[in-house]
């Protein structure tokens, strides 16, 4: 840690450091881009992964906290805080030239805080309409419905974009641009479309059947979860996590609970830890079964879809018995779990473990082995390992590009250090590799369940927590491996009973970021295949 500190102060003497759950570097705005370049390109520092971009409003200043990871070194996090005091026209240099994932992440920060990123090529809003008044996550935002009524007409100037370019003299010029040119034949997919898996919208410029460019238009199911969290107490914000990626409900909630427990310094009973881990893996199985079914169905093989759903039903039955719900389970709570496992839990999980291997064979027989399916998936939507890291595509999609990025291995948490399992990697970098990673991960999840099912320790299911939960002032970042990639929770507290700022770093947000580069040069039908193989869940993107 100290040598990193020394190295950074050597590169940029104007920085100051803060200790927390990870090292935080305070950097003045004018030095930020040069420091970022050094952090990325320096051989020893080598921060090649931009994990999270958190927009912030500290009242006297606006800014961004960047979380960086060095995948080559040891996966430790480094936070960098950049703040500007100009509230009228806040401007920060973009790092989208260094980490491509910032292309979308910075647009989110612009949307919510109005921070303009210098040299960002496409400074449009990401979630809200372009005629939205104000920046909703600012602390002084005026939520008067008169300012932003429900608009009944279409968004105007949808194709207009803008970028703020800095010339050699340091002067910033506003340069308008267009998303698509006049000659582009733009086909619209969504927000109501059978294969976008939710209210997602893609606009694709096509040349015949070949896709030239894909523009992602998001925000149709945006609920402002992060803003809502700021007005609620910690136990009250838990349920939002189940409603983001509903196919990773347990993992997401697990992550938020862990983040709060870390801040409180709370020890979770071992029984709860094991139950949480098992629930996470059951959730992963159910999610990957859905992904299998949807991939098959999007490719036109409707029957395989039902096969996947048949086994998913068993997992949902297990959830229903223990949690009382099949979706939005609301199971994890701060300090443990809300209720003890059902008496049938062990029996049901063992039954699932027993039948899964033969059912997997059946899936491969009905879909994977089919020559049409192979031709449709192989070589489609190439995402190289470099791009996967650059665009921060984690989870099964990243591992399909041969990138070892499993949070369960990199930052072991819960009961994962207790169990043996393999991190599934595929070298194909295409849709088939992503699909196969999911199929093999089901087997690994079954393996984890097999090891834990007889080892659930006796004891309490919940730690003693105070009636009113107040976090000490500070900031925490926690990650888990959700079904679709690394899910992160950022909490900043000012010592009150509700958080000052909560940010959810959702894996699916980064997945849609690569739609454009994956689809270019492929066909219209491949857009659906690529979307299915990346397997994004829309509420997780929009939050």
């Amino acid at each position: 840690m100290s040598d990193i500190k020394a190295k950074i102060s050597q590169i940029c003497p104007s920085v100051t450091f803060e200790e927390g759950d990870c090292l935080l570097v305070n950097v003045p705005e004018q030095d930020w881009h040069s420091l970022a370049t050094a952090l990325k390109n320096d051989r020893e520092l080598n921060y090649d992964l931009l994990t999270a971009v958190v927009g912030m409003d500290w009242k006297e200043s606006l800014g961004v906290i960047y979380y960086l990871t060095s995948t080559a070194r040891n996966w430790d996090l480094l936070a960098v805080k950049v703040a500007v005091t100009d509230r009228k026209n806040p401007m920060i240099h973009s790092v989208s030239d260094l980490w491509k994932v910032a292309l979308f992440q910075e647009r989110e920060a612009f949307d919510f805080y109005g921070i303009k990123f210098i040299n960002h090529p496409d400074m449009r809003r990401f979630f809200l309409r372009n005629d939205w008044v104000g920046y909703p996550l600012r602390k002084d935002y005026d939520a008067d419905p008169k300012l932003n009524p429900v608009r009944m007409e279409d968004e105007k100037h949808e194709d207009d974009t803008v970028s703020f370019v800095e010339d050699e003299n340091g002067k910033i010029k506003k340069i308008p641009g267009k998303v698509f040119t006049e000659d582009d034949y733009v086909v619209n997919f969504g927000p109501q479309h059978p294969s976008t898996h939710g209210v997602m919208r893609f606009r694709a410029a096509v040349d015949g059947e070949i896709i030239k460019k894909v523009d992602v238009v998001s925000g149709y199911i945006h609920r402002g979860i992060e803003k809502l969290c700021e007005g609620l107490t910690y136990p009250q914000i838990l349920h939002f996590t189940d409603r983001m990626d509903y196919m990773s409900a347990h993992q997401n909630r697990h992550c938020l609970c862990m983040c709060i427990e870390k801040a409180l310094g709370l020890e979770v009973p071992q029984r709860a830890v094991v139950i949480r881990t098992m629930m996470d893996e059951l959730m992963r199985i159910s999610s990957h079964l859905l992904a299998f079914g949807c991939t098959a169905m999007d490719l036109g093989a409707t029957t395989a879809f039902f096969y996947g759903f048949r086994e998913r039903e068993m997992v949902l039955d297990i959830f229903e018995k223990t949690c009382g719900a099949r979706m939005s389970m609301n199971y994890n709570v701060i300090g443990g779990v809300i209720a003890d496992i059902h008496t049938d839990f062990v029996k049901d999980v063992k039954e699932l473990i027993r039948i899964m291997p033969e059912r997997m064979k059946e899936y491969h027989k009905v879909f994977t082995g089919n020559v049409i399916a192979m031709n449709r998936l192989k070589g489609v939507g190439i995402l190289t390992k470099e791009n996967a890291i650059n665009y921060a595509v984690t989870g099964p999609s990243g591992r399909g590009s041969d990138w070892s990025c499993d949070c369960r291995k990199k930052h072991p948490y819960a009961a994962y250090p207790m169990v043996q399992f393999e991190e599934v990697l595929e070298k194909g970098c295409d849709s088939y590799a992503r699909y196969m990673v999911r199929m093999r991960e089901i087997e690994e999840s079954v393996r984890i369940l097999e090891q834990l099912v007889d080892r659930i320790p006796e004891g309490p299911i919940r730690a003693q927590v105070p009636k009113i939960i107040k976090l000490p002032a500070g900031r925490w970042y926690q990650q888990v491996e959700a079904s679709r990639g690394t899910f992160g929770v950022y909490i900043e507290s000012d010592g009150q009973k509700n958080p000052y700022r909560v940010h959810f770093q959702s894996p699916c947000f980064n997945l849609v970021g690569v739609m454009d580069i994956c689809c270019q040069g492929n066909m219209i039908a491949d857009l659906i295949t690529i979307g299915a193989a990346l397997d994004f869940v829309i509420p997780d993107i929009d939050r």
Binding site: G300, T303, L527
Partner: protein, 358 residues
């Protein structure tokens, strides 16, 4: 074997006996038209239920069960719903072509239905160039689909129509070549003669190797011709919503829907005509007792049974295979299927010339 010709002759004699001949023919035409349309509707309804039940069976489901016993009345409810639905007219469409398109599609499939050999003495259209006539009429349907896609003023329908045009024109070649292979073998294009040619044994067995190859090519090409999975690109619901008929509603949509199911029956009927003897029972030379038992089953049952069986196979394809992509589909036709059917045609010619058949 019962000859339905006795009934038609009796009816003809009855009419001619009490009115001038032109009026008798006119009345006969009207009666037959009504019968064809009635058959068309009943078959379409049957096929909708047939496919729904079959696909439910493949997918570990029950299918429609609520309306009537085993959901038998479901299709009637659906038909009624589609009949009372509003015909929505859209801005920016080519009104005339938009309304014309479904009629072109349905007309072509009704005319093809009338060409099929329903049973002994149950042949409505019988030309000396029957097979050519069927191929020609089937092309009119493509025109309807292209017009529907173009006139709807929608990008999805246009892409669907383009795909459909590319697909149907390509696969028509293989389809035609497969049928011509059998025509070479039979030496006739007349539909009823083709059936009588198979009295000894079905063409599939008489022509053995080239006939079996032609049969397989025909089944693949016919699946593509009817826009069914895995070749359902023109209406790929996961890409293009409903493809060329996205903008249609009410009975205009119903026409496309009915034509799709009926085309499935028609291609199955043609397959049974050309390869499995039409309405001709299964005859094995020398086994007279067996042949007599087979003859006892009515000819119409034979024909429908064969058609339903082939439809079953095509439905099975649809619910098992994923959809192919446009480039793969075209490559498959032009690189593999068409050269293979040309080679097969040559093979059949050699077999016929050298008499290597039964």
């Amino acid at each position: 074997m019962f000859d339905f010709g006795i009934w038609t002759k009796w009816f003809n004699d009855l009419l001619v006996g009490c009115m001038p001949e032109w009026l008798a023919i006119l009345i006969e035409c009207v009666v037959i038209a009504v019968l064809v349309l009635l058959t068309y509707t009943v078959l379409a309804l049957f096929y909708i239920l047939y496919e729904r039940k079959l696909c439910a069976w493949f997918q570990c489901r029950l299918g429609p069960m609520r309306v009537g016993k085993w959901g038998l009345l479901q299709v009637f409810a659906d038909m009624f719903k589609i009949l009372v639905k509003e015909l929505i007219s859209l801005k920016g469409t080519d009104r005339f072509l938009f309304k014309l398109a479904p009629y072109l599609v349905i007309t072509s499939s009704v005319v093809m239905l009338a060409c099929l050999p329903w049973g002994r003495g149950l042949q409505i259209i019988n030309y000396n160039i029957g097979i050519f006539f069927i191929l020609a009429v089937s092309s009119v349907g493509v025109l309807g689909i292209l017009l529907a896609g173009w006139s709807s003023n929608n990008k999805y329908t246009l892409i669907g129509a383009m795909r459909s045009g590319a697909q149907m024109i390509s696969y028509e070649i293989s389809l035609g070549l497969a049928l011509i292979t059998i025509v070479v073998f039979a030496g006739t294009m007349n539909i009823s003669e083709l059936v009588y040619e198979q009295e000894k044994a079905w063409f599939l067995f008489r022509g053995h190797i080239p006939a079996i190859i032609a049969f397989l090519i025909y089944i693949v090409a016919a699946t593509a011709e009817t826009n069914r999975g895995p070749f359902d690109l023109p209406e790929a619901e996961h890409e293009l919503i409903a493809g060329y008929h996205t903008e249609y509603s009410g009975i205009h949509f119903g026409f496309f829907y009915l034509a799709e199911y009926l085309n499935l029956f028609i291609v199955s009927g043609i397959a049974s005509l050309m390869f499995l003897g039409g309405w001709m029972p299964l005859h094995i030379p020398g086994w007279d007792g067996f042949n007599a038992v087979m003859n006892w089953i009515p000819s119409i049952v034979w024909f429908l049974g064969k058609a339903f069986f082939i439809s079953f196979v095509i439905i099975w394809f649809k619910w098992t295979f994923p959809r192919v992509r446009i480039d793969q589909m075209l490559a498959f036709e032009w690189k593999y299927l068409m050269p293979l059917s040309l080679a097969n045609l040559l093979l059949m010619a050699v077999f016929v010339a050298l008499g290597w058949h039964f």
